[in-house]
């Protein structure tokens, strides 16, 4: 049964521990010289794919990332975790800033078809834009079933049982392959890339292609008008009684 092939999409984002600063010209956040790493949910996706491979349910894991040259670092991390090869869809830095879920989903859909994979894995959302759309859109373009917010993934023959974390609790779906899965926090705990694996990863191939090669047009219909810091939290006010509370709220026009 180990003839399945998986495509895992990974995104390079500002490291979760970094204090984000907005650029003075309000066009975005400061990224120069700032520490970047793989999106944590993407790590979980890679981990899941590698585990499936270790269980011999998946034959090959391909890691893909869209963006400027530095994306290759992120792909390398995926390779060090156990992916077999990488694909870098190269986008020049200026255009990369305007890459959104719609564009990436188109790329992933085309790649999934081109590489003839049975499973596309992604993190549920990226920690920089929090869109939570790419996986869903990819499934839409491919017309494949999707299991999002996965907290457990089990392969059952040619079907995929996906347990999802939803507001009401847990929902279990059975999807026919090929399918798209987006990973949530409790799915697994990603392994640390070990130094010997990083060394081995150096020998794995990363293919570099352009979006045009896939016939994808990256134009976006969205433009960012301004990026601003959230307003500073002002101090609260303590009141003695409920009547005071109501009066205060009326005063500031809240009721």
């Amino acid at each position: 049964m180990a003839e399945l092939r998986a495509l895992v999409a990974v995104k390079r984002v500002i490291d979760y521990a970094v204090k984000i600063r907005v650029k003075p010209d309000k066009t975005g956040v400061v990224t120069d010289g700032v520490k970047h790493s793989m999106n944590p949910f993407c790590e979980i996706a890679v981990e899941e794919a590698v585990r499936l491979k270790e269980k011999k349910l998946v034959k090959e894991v391909i890691a893909v990332s869209c963006g400027p040259a530095q994306c290759q670092e992120t792909i390398r991390t995926a390779l060090a975790m156990g992916a077999d090869r990488g694909i870098h869809v190269e986008v020049p830095p200026a255009e990369a800033e305007r890459l959104g879920p719609l564009q990436v989903a188109q790329v992933l859909a085309k790649l999934a078809e081109k590489e003839k994979v049975d499973l596309v894995l992604l993190g549920k959302q990226a920690i920089d834009d929090d869109c939570n759309q790419t996986g869903q859109m990819t499934a839409g373009f491919l017309d494949w079933p999707q299991g999002t917010f996965a907290s457990q993934v089990t392969l059952e023959g040619d079907k995929l049982k996906v347990e999802r974390e939803i507001d009401g609790g847990l929902e279990t779906l059975r999807l026919k392959l090929p399918a798209v899965v987006t990973t949530d926090l409790r799915l697994n705990e990603p392994r640390y890339a070990t130094l010997p694996n990083i060394m081995k990863a150096k020998k794995k191939k990363i293919e570099v292609i352009k979006p045009g090669d896939l016939g994808v047009d990256l134009t976006s219909k969205l433009s960012v008008i301004s990026v601003e810091d959230p307003p500073q939290r002002t101090a609260g006010v303590k009141v003695e009684t409920t009547e005071d509370l109501v009066a205060k709220l009326k005063e500031i026009g809240r009721i």
Partner: protein, 677 residues
């Protein structure tokens, strides 16, 4: 003239284990990789201006034509005389060796070396992340300290991470790092947990380093793969109850069997890191060696690779220590252990040299680790100072705190600069770095102690409490001034080894005087040098054009300091001759001068590079460099002046000696308290 003396005094080694250091045999690159020679490393350097014919157009990156002209004039008349006298052997390129002679040999120190090629740099960057994460998220230093052992999951994680074979070639299962790459990773370990650092270092930096440096192909293939994966741990066994600094006096014996197939090992070793965990031991023992010429039999030290599995190897319980508690330290006993002759490491009788090489090779790693430790500690100190409010202000606004923080970071900057310079020199293939390595160990261990102690001071009562973890670091740090060669012994080594070349030169001069006509050049050069120095005209040496123009004032300070230093070295050698080896009060002060001088040069080099490459921290580094040089130059000036011309110096030494004698006679403090009872 001083050949054997430096070896004797300086190479007393404590068998104490060090934490992570590099080893790599003095080869430059991993197999298959071309050395990353850049235009900078290939250029000819302005070597000693006196005493040698000029090698060729000197490359001075910042030289203006005028400066060059001035220098040309100053020594042209001497170089004519010298052209008749050629240097007899290849001169050492070590800056430290040259500075004792009053020479500026800048090959290894300017410009600040960059030895990693693109691929090595990228690979290293990929390694930093997982190692840092491991130490931030998995390793729990406080827990390790309380348990007095490294948690099992952590140890296992480290093995899987590949941390136990960082320098083993990849063909044998290791990560195959060069010294500079190793230094970078060791910095991370030092920042987080020194006890784990010692566990790793005792294993790979000294425990099996001997196999890497001196092992036969068979020995390497047999032992390295399991050592690299951490399946077996290693330990370095030199120290005994009666042999610490005086390593040559060890008593463990290895008697060869009549058939010649094995040795029988008997003895006990003390305070061996990983002693209770290791399966592979590098053991130093006395073996009888027959002199082929005379037939006399002498006891010389031989190094052996001993497996616990050979039988007869036992160990004592873990020692209770002040710090690095999680690192296992135990006595190891060898009782009639049969060691196959194939397990001799290096040659029979050359064990002392083996031990020296192992320790020398790893020293810079300690400086790298401690630079990391200081970086972490300074972050804590700054964090406290920027948040603590007293007297209505954040305490970082007060001058006392500001001075503390500034001094702390200067010590960190110097240590870090030394560590990476020595590692780069080693990667470049330099074989003469022992003085610099010793200096970096002395400086780093003392700097780290001062920085951590000062951090506690800044934090006040909080620093003394267990929770912030700074007190643990201070306890961990204390041993670094003791093991791997006590700082006292290493100071003697720096002074004596440094004086050795100069001493030979002087004795060479002595014989030249017996044949003045044949050695005119040597004498003229020498006389000229002495005349100029005594006339205060300076030796004509200059760092102008070598250091960045913005650092020229500090560069001058360094050159003046070097001249003052060398003048005293020469005078003392002429006065004491071989007897200098017993003048420990003097040697200590010379060593301190040498350390300050090397430190000045190292920061000048690093700050110059930052300025010329336009790093965004260049101006800050300039400040660090200038500040350091002002104070170091003053220390050297006053120290050397005192040695040279203060009549009270001798009184001081005599007093130290007498006071000590009285204490020894009394068995303690001689006086009672002011009350008289």
């Amino acid at each position: 003239m001083l050949g054997g003396l430096a070896a004797a005094a300086g190479t007393r080694i404590m068998g104490k284990e060090i934490e992570a250091e590099a080893q790599r045999p003095r080869q430059t690159w991993r197999p298959g990789q071309p050395p990353a020679m850049t235009a900078k490393t290939m250029s000819s350097r302005p070597t000693a201006l006196l005493g040698q014919p000029r090698p060729g157009p000197a490359r001075r990156p910042y030289a203006g034509g005028a400066a060059q002209l001035a220098l040309d004039k100053s020594d042209s008349h001497l170089s004519d005389a010298l052209n008749k006298e050629k240097p007899a052997k290849a001169e050492s390129k070590s800056f430290a060796v040259a500075m004792f002679k009053g020479q500026l040999t800048t090959d290894q120190v300017f410009p600040y070396p960059s030895v990693l090629n693109q691929e090595q740099t990228e690979f290293l960057k990929e390694l930093v992340e997982p190692v840092s994460r491991f130490f931030e998220e998995v390793n729990d230093p406080a827990k390790n300290d309380t348990l007095e052992m490294v948690e099992e999951t952590t140890l296992q994680g480290l093995k899987e991470l590949g941390a136990f074979g960082l320098q083993v070639p990849s063909e044998l299962g290791g990560v195959g790092l060069c010294n500079t790459q190793y230094a970078r990773l060791v910095e991370i370990v030092g920042m987080h947990d020194l006890a784990v650092g010692i566990t790793l270092g005792a294993h790979q930096s000294i425990g099996f380093k001997g196999i890497l440096l001196f092992g036969t192909k068979a020995q390497k293939e047999k032992y390295l793969p399991k050592l690299a994966s951490g399946e077996t741990l290693a330990a370095f066994c030199l120290t005994e109850p009666s042999s610490g600094s005086d390593a040559a006096s060890i008593r463990t014996s290895a008697v060869p069997s009549p058939c010649g197939k094995y040795y029988t090992l008997n003895g006990s070793k003390l305070w061996i890191s990983n002693g209770g965990l290791a399966d592979i031991f590098t053991v130093f023992a006395k073996t009888p060696v027959t002199d082929p010429a005379t037939g006399a039999v002498k006891e010389k030290i031989t190094a052996f690779v001993v497996e616990r599995g050979f039988g007869g190897v036992t160990h004592g319980p873990p020692e209770k220590k002040m710090g690095i508690k999680a690192s296992n330290t135990a006595e190891v006993f060898f009782d009639g252990v049969r060691v196959p002759s194939e397990n001799v490491l290096g040659e029979v009788g050359s064990g002392f040299k083996v031990a020296m090489h192992i320790l020398n090779n790893g020293r810079f790693g300690m400086a790298a680790a401690l630079a990391g430790t200081m970086r972490g500690i300074i972050t804590k100190a700054v964090d406290y100072a920027t948040n603590r409010i007293q007297f209505g202000e954040k305490i970082h606004n007060f001058g006392l705190i500001q001075e503390k923080l500034a001094r702390m970071v200067m010590l960190q900057y110097v240590t870090e600069s030394m560590a990476y310079m020595v590692s780069a020199n080693m990667d470049q293939g330099s074989t003469d770095f022992q003085i610099e390595a010793a200096i970096s160990k002395i400086f780093g261990s003392e700097a780290a102690w001062k920085v951590t102690d000062e951090c506690i001071q800044i934090m006040g009562g909080m620093g003394f409490m267990k929770e912030p973890g700074v007190e643990r670091v201070l306890r961990d740090l204390r041993i670094f001034r003791i093991f791997e060669g006590t700082n006292d012994i290493l100071r003697l080594f720096v002074a004596l080894q440094g004086c050795m070349d100069k001493g030979k030169e002087l004795s060479g001069l002595g014989s030249a005087l017996k044949n003045p006509f044949g050695n005119a050049g040597l004498l003229l050069g020498e006389a000229g040098k002495q005349l100029r120095r005594r006339a205060g005209l300076g030796s004509g040496l200059s760092l102008s054009g070598i250091v960045h123009p913005e650092l020229s004032r500090s560069g001058e300070l360094a050159v003046q300091a070097l001249e003052q230093f060398a003048t005293v070295v020469e005078a003392k050698l002429i006065k004491h001759k071989k007897g200098i080896v017993n003048e420990q009060f003097l040697l200590q002060r010379l060593a301190d001068g040498a350390i300050d001088l090397y430190a000045m040069v190292v920061v000048l080099s690093r700050a110059s590079r930052s300025l010329s490459e336009g790093h965004h921290t260049a101006q800050h580094e300039k400040m660090l460099c200038d500040t350091w040089c002002i104070e170091a130059a003053a220390r050297i000036r006053e120290g050397m002046a005192a040695l040279q011309s203060d009549p009270r110096q001798h009184e001081l030494y005599r007093n130290f000696k007498s006071i000590s004698k009285a204490l020894v006679e009394r068995g303690g403090v001689v006086t009672s308290n002011p009350l008289g009872f």
